[in-house]
Every structure is written in C-alpha cells, then in structure tokens.
Subunit: 157 residues, 2 copies
C-alpha cells in the first residue's frame, strides 16, 4: 500500500485565497485544516483552523479568554470584519522549511506516512507527486484514515 | 449563543480504555482526537491521533521516516502488536495542568470558545458543565463547527 492509493482529494488554497473562503471550506467540509500551495501547485504549508481564530482574536483575549465575555455583539462583528479583505497569506506565520511540512511522496509506504505524522504531530499529511522535479499535491491522508487502514491487519489475540 | 448550545456529542475515553478501541473510534468517526476523562467523568486531557502513531513508530524511524521503507510486513505487524494490551494511559504524556486543556464552561460565549481554541492552537474544545463543583463533559466544539457558526454573521461587503 502506498500513499498514492491512500490519498483522498483535499481542498487546496493558495496564499492569495481570501480568508473567508478558506474558513468556509473548513466549515463546510468539517476540516480542521487546509493544505496551502503556492500558485504553481507546490506545497507551501498547512493552515490549521485555529490560526484563523488566532488572527481574529486579539492577543490580550487569547491570554485571558474570560475577557471575551465582556465583548458585546458589536465588538464581535468588528473582529469578524478583520476576515474580509484578508487572505490566507495574512494568517500564515513564515514559510516553513520543507522538512517541517507534513508531506510524503506518492510512493511512500504506510509506515513512512505514519512516521511523518508521528514526528510532526500532524493530523494530516499531503501526498505529492514528483513530476519533472515539480511537486504537485495529489491529495491528503488524515490520521483517522491511516488508523482505519492499519487496524484491520492488527493481530486479534 | 453559548458553548452548551454549540456542543456536539463526542466520544470520551478514559486512561483505562484499550488503545485499539480508541484507535477504532478515531478511524470510524473520522476524528483527529478524543477527549480523555478520568473514571469520574472529569476531563483529563485530549488525545490526538498522532500520539497513537508516536507510540507505535520507534523514535529512530520518526527521526528519519525514510527508514520506514526498510521495514517489511513482519516488522510492521510487530509494531502493530504494541497496540494490543496497551491502554490510553500508555499514550498520554503527563497529566496536564487544567489551564493547558482546551476546556470551556457550558456558559462560555462563542468568542470565549474561539479565544481558548486560538490560544491553545486546538482544533477542538471540550464543553464541561459544573455540577456541585464536579466537572462533567457534555460535548465538544470543533474549529469547523465554530467557523460555521461565526461565518453567516460576517458582513457581506
């Protein structure tokens, strides 16, 4: 079994994607994160949903979430307004080193996928195909899909 | 809107739950993690699926996932055998400080939930009810559910 066969289609955004669109994708598909590729389709990073909230919620409220109770409806709308006109690029920290990205080649074995997920504590790995030296994302493997594949083969003793 | 109304039922395991059962829950419900409560129902920590893989995959393979290619079917079965007889307790680091847990009270506001998720970079928060000083988990809120709730109220300009 290779990563290519386990991979499932997964929505991809670019740094230019509007934040609202990215948030809607996560909400509709019930995803905890999205794969971010540059406009040439090369994997760039993974955007966890919590980064959208980090962008929205002021640092002093993150430090003391009880302060959020004091914010009224108007303050709340004000925060959401930050999402409009923002793009995924605004949410991303710095481009990561490719070694830190949860990415595997299409020919990676299941254990290799598991090792990457384990080592980066990632709930998701992107599967990339190498075409003439260009990396293209062909899908993704979630931790639940990997566990579902691994479990039926476990010994039943 | 309060955390109580946004919370959805979520599977709960205890440190005594068998690892295989926890892995099956994640696989079947397509979850990236589970809430761990002690046997009195008090929230204890969140178990991400990647921790199961960290338990399975030897450290030297996590450090260099390409080594996983060299593992044959037999070595792979050997790894999976580690899951049998292991319990969730074996996968957990140390009990965390309650302040580090993604937990909100049932009466928390949506922004308070968002602040906790943002500050802990968590894709999930457990919602607890306080009954006579005893915390009971009544459900959980995922980042995608929170975004789905927040988005319809965004300004359309």
């Amino acid at each position: 079994m290779t990563a290519r066969k386990l991979a499932q289609p997964f929505p991809i955004v670019t740094p230019e994607t509007e934040t609202v669109e990215a948030a809607q994708l996560m909400a509709e598909r019930q995803l905890a994160g999205l794969i971010v590729c540059d406009k040439d389709g090369r994997p760039y990073t993974v955007l966890p949903g919590s980064e959208i909230l980090r962008f929205l919620i002021p640092a002093y409220v993150q430090d003391d979430p009880a302060l959020a109770r004091a914010l009224d409806e108007e303050a709340s709308d004000e925060l959401l307004r930050k999402l409009v006109h923002a793009t995924v690029r605004d949410l991303l920290p710095r481009p990561q080193d490719i070694d830190d990205l949860p990415i595997v080649g299409a020919d990676a074995t299941v254990l290799e996928v598991a090792a990457v997920m384990a080592s980066l504590r990632s709930p998701l790995v992107a599967v990339v195909d190498d075409l003439d030296g260009e990396h293209r994302v062909i899908g993704a493997i979630t931790v639940s899909r990997l566990l579902a594949y691994l479990l039926p083969t476990r010994p039943q003793n």
